[in-house]
């Protein structure tokens, strides 16, 4: 099937939107993207489940607007994009390859690679077009003007939006559950940390290449595995009982979290965006030292003074250096060598990182607040408010229920149980059970899954305004 589709595309006219949509469907039909009957992926980084029911009607012709990035269409596109990008990276399970051998071969197969490359530019346009409209750079930029602008940013950056997410966690009815939701969203990126940027360390572009490589060396822990940044984050996850294997929680990633991860792959994979990346790395390294301090404080407040925070404290320290290195050793010499005209691209990358950060924080804050609403308010004795929730440990979903997979709610929707029961999964370890006669409203812009019992019949209707 894949091979015949590749041949058909090779013979088709370029830009055939309908054909590209069929390519996306065919790509998603590959076994490694098959729906799963459980909410997690167990030690198999090749499996990237998608929902078959999402694809009829899925159309990538018209790009997503910025207010559609927290939609189900965005979730589908971003899931596929990351699976395409990450085929350039090496993944292996922690244990036992024999029974995953077929998945291993399939994920890295030529057919999937070819088809992925055919649909990638279309998906990138679909996902990232709105970002181009969000930023405009004009005027006669010089390195002095850029340094002044950067210094103003550095001195005034307070990570207000990140702090709002931290506050949403620490002031939640169940701060621990909210913190786990947060850590899971970070896992998609942090467990493969620096892989996207490492795409810019190969080739030959003189001293700049070696300067960027120094940053990557830090990220990789100088070859000392226990201090590799992704290893530090594995320890954060393990300390909270979470699985450190990349993409175990694939089905729980929000589209807005995928989006951030995909952005770095997008600008690093296409080397025409190299200078855009130089701006992006400067912003992220400068901002991350501040946000990581906030994350450290949040972890300590939620989990106590023994909370595992080495990942975050390491970045508070090293990113002060990385910020300076990005400016002094990458951007200044690059402008000196190639002229002021590259500054428009550097500024664009710098600004785009701020925007994707906003998108990430908004999506996550909404999810955390919604999931937390299922927990009983400490001030409330209302039994109705306390009835639906049961907190489950990972892997303890009722086996007699059918896992329908996670999706985004695009409009405020009411789910009403006629008979039987369903579990509404509002996030990791946030499961609310609803029985006959009960209903629940799922707002637009949140990720959820339903697990109906075998005898469950439920109705779905748009919520009345």
């Amino acid at each position: 099937m894949l091979t015949s589709m590749v041949n058909e595309v090779m013979a088709a006219a370029p830009g055939d939107g309908a054909l590209l949509n069929r390519c996306v469907q065919t790509y998603a039909d590959a076994p490694v993207f098959k729906e799963m009957d459980r909410p997690w992926v167990e030690d198999n980084p090749f499996l990237r489940p998608l929902l078959n029911c999402d694809f009829p009607g899925f159309d990538t012709t018209n790009a997503l607007s910025s207010d559609q990035l927290a939609s189900n269409a965005s979730l589908i596109a971003n899931r596929i994009l990351l699976s395409i990008y990450e085929r350039d990276f090496v993944f292996l399970p922690r244990h036992e390859l024999d029974e995953k051998w077929e998945n291993f071969q399939s994920y890295y197969s030529d057919d999937l690679r070819l088809l992925g490359e055919i649909i990638r530019p279309q998906l990138e346009r679909y996902v990232f077009s709105s970002l181009k409209e969000e930023v405009n750079v004009s005027g006669s930029w010089t390195i002095e003007a850029f340094e002044a602008y950067f210094e103003d940013f550095r001195q005034n950056f307070k990570a207000v939006e990140n702090q709002q997410v931290m506050t949403a966690i620490t002031s939640a009815r169940n701060p621990a559950a909210a913190a786990l939701t947060y850590l899971i969203q970070l896992a998609g990126d942090f467990l493969v940390e620096s892989s996207a940027m490492a795409r810019n360390t190969v080739g030959n572009y003189g001293q700049l290449q070696s300067e960027l490589f120094k940053v990557v060396i830090d990220e990789c822990g100088y070859g000392v595995h226990p201090v590799k940044h992704s290893t530090l984050f594995e320890r954060v996850l393990q300390s909270r009982g979470l699985d450190p294997v990349p993409h175990t929680y694939w089905q729980f990633y929000l589209p807005t979290s995928f989006y951030v991860n995909n952005y770095y792959n997008y600008i690093c994979r296409d080397h025409r965006h190299l200078f855009r990346y130089f701006g992006a790395i400067l912003e992220v390294e400068t901002a991350f030292r501040v946000t990581c301090k906030q994350m450290t404080d949040m972890m300590t407040e939620v989990f106590g003074h023994n909370a595992e925070t080495d990942y975050f404290t390491e970045h508070v320290h090293i990113d002060t250096h990385h910020s300076r290195m990005a400016l002094e050793n990458l951007i200044v010499p690059a402008v000196k060598t190639y002229g002021n005209s590259i500054l428009a691209y550097i500024v664009r990358g710098f600004e785009e990182v701020g925007i994707i950060g906003t998108i990430f924080n908004n999506g996550l804050k909404k999810q955390i607040e919604w999931a937390d609403s299922f927990f009983a308010s400490p001030e409330s004795d209302s039994p109705a408010e306390q009835t639906p929730l049961r907190v489950v440990q990972f892997g303890e979903l009722d086996k007699n229920r059918r896992w329908e997979g996670t999706r985004m709610s695009d409009v405020d929707t009411v789910y009403s149980v006629r008979s039987g029961e369903f579990d509404l999964v509002a996030g990791y370890s946030v499961v609310a059970t609803f029985g006959a006669g009960q209903q629940v409203r799922v707002p637009a812009g949140v990720l959820f899954a339903l697990c109906p019992s075998a005898d469950c019949i439920y109705d779905v209707a748009p919520a009345e305004v």
Binding site: S138, S140, Y345, V347
Partner: protein, 119 residues
């Protein structure tokens, strides 16, 4: 050098004795140019746009100025979503910028009509 951040809608900046106008039009980017006519310092923000956005006429001496040429000397400017940031390159550190909205400002859409979008 000073960094000036404008709120949504603000289109005029005064800093020391300098005045700047901020031209925004959908698909045409956002540009900051000096409001001082290079001829005799006339108030360009009160000028009129001619020839489909290719020229700006100063109200004092009717000097016709090429808009693409004016934009080539525009200030480093960033529009990110609704926010606009400008690097005023020759401002003194102790000069406080004042930004505002001026209804009487020349029509940005007309002024940028002949301009291509920026990268």
């Amino acid at each position: 050098m000073r960094i000036v951040h404008l709120d949504s809608g603000e289109n005029f900046v005064e800093i020391g004795e300098q005045r700047f106008l901020v031209l925004r039009a959908e698909g045409k980017g956002c540009h900051t140019i000096s409001a001082k006519c290079p001829h005799r310092g006339g108030p360009l923000h009160l000028g009129t746009v001619e020839d489909d956005g290719h020229f700006l006429k100063c109200p004092w001496h009717k000097t016709r100025l090429s808009i693409p040429h004016l934009l080539r000397n525009s200030l480093p400017t960033i529009r990110t979503r609704g926010r606009v940031s400008i690097v005023v390159t020759d401002a003194k550190v102790d000069e406080t910028p004042h930004a505002c909205f001026r209804k009487t400002l020349l029509d940005a859409k007309a002024a940028l009509a002949g301009v291509n979008g920026t990268p």
